[in-house]
Symmetry: C2
């Protein structure tokens, strides 16, 4: 299989969520690319191409098996695995992510959550006790964690990222409001919540309906 | 001023966070576009253009006033206002966003948080008591809220969005794992957390260093 790019992955998640929600993951229905196209507002040809790439072949004049689509996407993304992830930063966002029940559904489990604030260490979030930062390397090694989720302040992000990479993680999900650098073998996803918010705030000040006149 | 596009806004947030963090919002230093360019990995000419658009003029061979940059960005984005926002969905993510202390810093305040789960209604999150959904329209009207933050399940998102728009909101920040439609005068920002996660999970299964060979 060729490497799937982010846009393809995004569309695949769209197909997955649509079927999961409206058809059911375990039931099986025939669905045509034309139907998916209309529902998700994605070009018909693009949908057939995406499904072909993950090995799902439709039947001419019949369509695709919803169960086959779901199974292929789960397989490609490893949703049936149970991969340990660690969360660094036990603030509200970190807590929300650490106890995110959908994690399990995406083949992840929270192996540990860390913080350097003595008032947070020892607290329970979901089924995890917040651990001190000096346990980071040991826990990552013992749990064989692969994914690190950063919900630390911007000024701490790079240093934490460096430690996570040094400890062997190969994927970082960064919610700190800053970009972090990592070696080429590490995949990093930045969630720019503040940037998204800035867009909305700008439009609140400059209403969309009058954009043309400003 | 021309309408600023999302990429420009994103870069402006980058300048803002850099100065806020490393120079301080209230101190004043001279900073050159060349320095910012090196620090943020953004083209020098682009930086000067962005700053000119928001009315910040540098002095040749001297640079820009950090205080002037910060002030111009805060002005353009309305960070000194106090705009009411409502959060729909009092799950962990909703709670995290509702009590996000940086909101205040972006000129927002949480006016109310809503849920339809009787077990959540009446609970306190930050300084807000979770309210039932049938209070939505009244609270939006009375608080003159402008921004709605959706942290509801996918299947409820469109219906909630419709109610928020009907009640007069003109900006929606959507964390539900689905796209929502809204009239043209409403600005919508989708945060695709699941899509971001999918990217990372895919790379965990298909390590980046061997992409070329897959």
């Amino acid at each position: 299989m060729n490497t799937l790019n982010p846009l393809t992955l995004n569309r695949l998640m769209g197909y997955y969520h649509y079927i999961d929600r409206h058809i059911g993951r375990d039931s099986d229905q025939t669905i045509s690319s034309a139907t998916l196209s209309k529902l998700l507002n994605i070009d018909d040809t693009q949908i057939r191409k995406d499904l072909a790439v993950i090995g799902v072949k439709g039947q001419p004049h019949v369509g695709f098996s919803s169960r086959e689509i779901v199974g292929a996407i789960r397989g490609v993304l490893g949703f049936d695995l149970s991969r340990p992830a660690v969360v660094v930063g036990a603030g509200r966002l970190g807590g929300a992510l650490a106890s995110f029940k959908d994690f399990h559904d995406y083949g992840l489990r929270t192996a540990a959550i860390f913080d350097n604030n003595p008032q947070k260490i020892g607290q329970t979030i979901g089924d995890q006790v917040v651990q001190p930062m000096d346990r980071l390397e040991t826990v990552i090694r013992d749990s064989q964690a692969q994914l690190g989720i950063l919900t630390v302040p911007a000024h701490a992000a790079q240093q934490v990222a460096d430690r996570l990479v040094q400890a062997g993680l190969t994927a970082l999900w960064n919610f700190a409001p800053t970009r972090i650098a990592a070696p080429d073998h590490v995949s990093v996803r930045h969630e720019h919540l503040a940037a998204g918010l800035a867009e909305l705030l700008y439009h609140l000040k400059n209403p969309l309906s009058t954009d043309a006149a400003t």
